[in-house]
Subunit: 302 residues, 2 copies
Amino acid sequence: MSLLVVGSVAFDGIESPYGKVERALGGAATYFAVAASYFTHVNLVGIVGDDFSKEDAQIFRGRRIDTEGLERTAGKTFFWAGRYSENLNERVTLTTDLNVFATFKPKLPDKYRDSKYVFLANIAPDLQRDVLHQVKKRPAIVALDTMNYWIERTNAELRETLKHVDILMINDSETRQLSSEHNLLRAAKHIFKMGPSTLVVKRGEYGAMLVDKRGVFCVPAFPLEEPHDPTGAGDSFAGGFMGYLAGVGQKSDVALRRAMVYGSVMGSFTVEKFGLDRLRHLKRNQIHARARHFAKLTQFKL
Amino acid sequence: MSLLVVGSVAFDGIESPYGKVERALGGAATYFAVAASYFTHVNLVGIVGDDFSKEDAQIFRGRRIDTEGLERTAGKTFFWAGRYSENLNERVTLTTDLNVFATFKPKLPDKYRDSKYVFLANIAPDLQRDVLHQVKKRPAIVALDTMNYWIERTNAELRETLKHVDILMINDSETRQLSSEHNLLRAAKHIFKMGPSTLVVKRGEYGAMLVDKRGVFCVPAFPLEEPHDPTGAGDSFAGGFMGYLAGVGQKSDVALRRAMVYGSVMGSFTVEKFGLDRLRHLKRNQIHARARHFAKLTQFKL
C-alpha cells in the first residue's frame, strides 16, 4: 500500500564525539522515506533549494521512493547544525536556517492523493492538516510527529489537526508537555480525547512504548556499544513503523507490535553511523536478523 | 534452596504527592526478605534497636523468613526520611539516622552458614565481604547491591569485595560511576573484569537490563497509572529476582530471564502503595498474573 510522507529534506551539520560532518543529507522526510522504502512504496512531499544536487537526489534512487512531490525552488535547502554531548544524550542546536522551508506549502501530486497511509513529519500543524485535506479518502492510518515548538506556539492549530490523526508519535517530554501529565498512561488517556487512538512514545536509549485501548507494548532500544550519531533515529523509527504497517496493509495488535520492532530496528541502524551512512546501505536480511535479535533481547518463557 | 540476605532493617519517613507516613517499617533487607519469601526460604541478617516492637516484627511472621540473624541491641533502629518530587522521579533525603546500624557487624547464625544463595544489600563493602567469609562453601550465586557513597569513599574495599560476586545489581548512575563509562554495554565489560559475570541495571521507570557474556535481556517497568511510593522498589526487585533463582535452584539463561520478570513484578507491587503495604499482602496468583501481564507487555511474533 502506498505511504505518503510530508516533511523536511535538509542538510545537517553534525558534531559528535565520534566525528564531525559539515553538510550531510538529512531531514525528517529523508530518514523516514529511506527507512520505509525497505518495506513499501513511499510518496515523498517536501521542498529543496537549487543547492540540492543530482548527487544529493541519489539517496532516493533505486528505492521505492517517488519524488514527484519533492518541490525544487530558488534558494537554499533547509540547513540544521547541532552538537552532541560526550554521551550523545544531549544536543545543542547550533544553526537552524529554514531557507526555502520557511515558505513551504505542501502540494500533493494527483497520484499521491489516494495514499492509504500518511505520515505527517514534524512541520507546522496547519500544513499537516492541509496535507490531509488533499488526500481524497480518509486514509487507513494517519500518523503525526510534532515538537515542543508547535505544542507551545500553535497549540490550538495542533489540537485541530490531532482530531484527524490515528497515531501520535512523539517523545517523552513532548507527551508530557502536550498532555500536562507526567505519568505516561494518564498522558495517553488525555491524548486519546484529542483524537489519536494510539500513542507511540519514543524514549531514545530507553526504547519505545505503544499505548492504545488494548493496553501497552514496550520495546527496548537496541544496545549498541558504539553509537555514533542519533540524528534521524526517531524519523527512521517512524519510517520502519509506518513502512511495515503500509507494507502489510494491517493495523491489528500483532501488526502494531511488529511495527514497533521494525521501527526500533531502523532507528538502531541509523545511530550506528553518521547521517544516513548506515541506513542507506542496508540489506533486507540484515533488517530481519536484527528484528530476531530484538526477540532475543526481550523474550522469556514463564 | 536457602537464601541469605544481609542489610538494613529500618523505619522510614516518606513524603510523596500521595501522602505522608511518619514512621513506616522499611530497610533494604526487609523489602528483600518479604519479596523473596513468596518464592523461597529466607535467612535474614540485620540489626534493630529496642524500639523495634513485636508488632514491627510481625512483618516477618507467617512467612518463610528466619529472623535468628536479626540482632537486637540497645538504642534506636536505623531511621531514614525522604521526600519525593511531584512526579516521584526525584527524591531528597531529609534524615539519615544510622543509630544501631552504625556499629553493625553482621554475624551469621551457624545454620545460615551453608546458604547457597546470598544477597548482600547496600552496606559497607568490608562488611559484605565479611559475610561471605562466614559462609562455609562458595555459594551458587552471590549478588551485591551498592551505592554512590561506597563507590566514592571505599572504592578499593568495594573492588576487593566484587572479586567474590557473581551478580552486581545497581542502578544506571551507579553503573556509570563504578565503571567510568556511560555506555552500559561498555560499562558491563569493565565490571566483568572486576569479578561479576552478570550485571543487572535497575532503571526505575524504564525497567531493568541484564547483561552477561551471552548477551542482553531487557524488561520494562510495569506501567502504573497511580504509583504511590518508590521506596523499596529496587530491594523488592532484588528479592523477587534472587527469590526466584533460589526457589528453582537454577542459573540458566531461561531462569535468569524469569528472575528479571519476577523481580520487576515485585518492584511494581511495592510502588503501588506506601512502604510495605502492598508487598506484604500479596497472593501467589496475583504474582503470577502480573508476570503474565509482563509477557503481554513485551512479547511479539515476527
